[in-house]
Amino acid sequence: MRGALLIAKKEFLELTKDRKTLFLVFVMPFLLYPAIFTMMAKLGKRSEDQNRNKASRIYLVDPSATLVPILKADPKQFELVAKPEGDLRQAIRDQKLELALEVAPEAGAALQKQETFQVTATVDESERASNIALKRLKGALEPQEKNWIQTRLKTLSASPQLAEPLKLEVKNAADTALEVGKAIGTMLPYLLMIMMYSGSMQHGIYATAGEKERQTLLSLMATRLPRIQIILGKLLYIFSIGVISALLNLVSLGLSISILGSDSTSSVQTMSAIANPMTLGLTFMIMVPLGLFFANFILLMGIQAKTTVEAGTAIMPGMFLVIFLGVFTMAPGVDKMAFLSYVPVVNVCLALRKLFSQQFSWLEYLVSFAMTVGLAGLMTLVSTRILNQEKALFKM
């Protein structure tokens, strides 16, 4: 085993000697996620601020001046504008104003006669600003409408409850942590798998087909190290680099969420949903054999290829498969198909999904774990068998 460790050490040393690669592996994840999150937060905040602080521009047609006082009450919320030139709808779509409000001319009289009058609001529902204007308008009209109803009931000397036979109070049963956990649970295995596979792939190709291409493999094989140790050393490297890539990305992701989102309470819950040692431990434990399985496939393809391009062509479809399986297991309802817990790779995704949504079952987890371990072990046997042949290393 010492030989394998020496080879793996050599691979890591080679990795550290190249600044660019080193940067991409160890620094990039810690720049990428904070950058993405900051940008997203900034963008979101800016448009939010814009919408929140600006008064909604409303063109109001109200001959009987029934609604004018309401709209003029709060200049921070509403700004009454003159009739825009040209087509009104087009003007709204062009965001020259947010909302047009037409109150029936007989509104004042209708109110007096205790009749209904018509109010027509024109908005562009695809625009956030327009929707905000509509919401504000509803908010402003509601108390006034209630007021009018009460007055009408009073003139009839009826109970104020007459117009309110039922009062609906909505309580949200969802647990925010659970919601967030569910979202993470569906995304996380997918993200982890892709990061692990792509990390292993990149560096694995360099260390296998790349060595053939650069004609250095022969110099390793000419040393006293047994061939099998060289193969195992490469496997160890490809496997570790995959796990390291996944871990680094995960840590950076977690840090970005916790640091940048620390002002809102939901992120605290998010963190508690992810940063539960049991959940994380179980996630990591099942990712290890999966990573070994991936590493074996990459090693097998990489060593048998003559060039890095050839290796890439052979290894890339695996990436697509991983992406496909990941997306497939994210689909709703998939977690209810029982037979899927016996399909390798898919069952890992499902086990993790359940782990994060508090539907964890030890049996399912252990089945997936055992299957993945078995698969990885089998794959290690197969790949070392195949590669430990003169043919594989001297392929022409």
């Binding site: 030989g3 020496l6 050599k10 040393l13 080679e14 000697k17 190249d18 650069r214 004609q215 250095t216 022969l218 110099s219 390793l220 094989m221 000419a222 040393t223 006293r224 190290l225 047994p226 061939r227 003169e390 001297f394 022409m396």
Partner: protein, 253 residues
């Protein structure tokens, strides 16, 4: 000590046009012995089977039949023991260009289980002999092919091997550097090592080899000191012998 006994090796290759498998007999029954303190030259045209023979001696490939002993060990049974006593170099061997020569040699010292201090000292000594000590701490990605070849030579000799196998060691080297390498080979002979080299460069063979073997179509022709071969063939140069053999093998086919 190197000893080959009736060694055979064939490869199956695919013919893209006829879509059939073809068997190439690269080595067809070679027997030879190289003693310590001797430089053996392996000659032959392209594709004759020189590299295949040397790879089998270095235990990188197994012979299909026959046996090879290096330092008293069978290459098939004890490949690791064989490799720890031999230094192997071939033209199609690269160096890890992300390292400096010093880093590379330190690494291979570990692979070959040489004491780090000893490896460092021997490595620098070899680089010095190859006139490369000024570049010991320069990253190799800018090295010329000759400089890389020198580092490869140092790498092959780092663990003080009793047997030295060089496959075309002077290919791509200028005359000055080639002379340095040949001088190194002479020193190794004086130190009592067993040396086997393959080459196309005839003057080099006449210059340094104690014995030569000429491979044609996987078979060994003549296994004697260069002068004896010239005499028995009534030729002035080894080139002439080469032409004769080529004509003979054409006539035989």
């Amino acid at each position: 000590m190197i000893h080959l006994n009736e060694v055979h090796k064939s490869f199956t290759v695919k013919d893209r046009k006829t879509r059939s498998s073809k068997c190439i007999d690269a080595v067809r029954g070679i027997s030879l012995t190289v003693k310590p303190g001797e430089i053996y030259g392996l000659l032959g045209p392209n594709g004759a089977g020189k590299s295949t023979t040397l790879r089998m001696i270095a235990s990188l490939m197994d012979p299909d039949s026959g046996s090879i002993e290096v330092c008293g060990q069978d290459t098939k049974q004890k490949p690791e023991a064989v490799r720890s006593c031999l230094g192997y170099l071939s033209t199609d061997m690269g160096v890890y260009t992300r390292f400096t020569p010093r880093e590379l040699l330190r690494l291979f010292g570990e692979f070959q289980d040489v004491d780090p201090l000893v490896a460092e000292r021997r490595g620098l000594h070899l680089l010095d002999k190859l006139q490369l000590s000024d570049f010991a701490d320069v990253k190799m990605d800018g090295f010329s092919s000759g400089q890389k070849q020198k580092v490869s030579i140092a790498r092959a000799l780092l663990h003080d091997p009793k047997v030295v196998i060089f496959d075309e060691p002077t290919t791509g080297l200028d005359v000055l550097t080639a002379k340095t390498v040949l001088d190194l080979l002479r020193i190794m002979r004086e130190e009592g090592r067993t040396v086997i080299v393959s080459t196309h460069v005839m003057p080099m063979v006449e210059d340094i080899c104690d014995r030569v073997g000429i491979i044609f179509d996987g078979k060994l022709h003549g296994d004697a000191p260069p002068r004896e071969i010239l005499q028995s063939r009534r030729a002035k140069t080894l080139d002439e012998v080469f032409f004769q053999l080529a004509a003979e093998s054409e006539g035989a086919n």
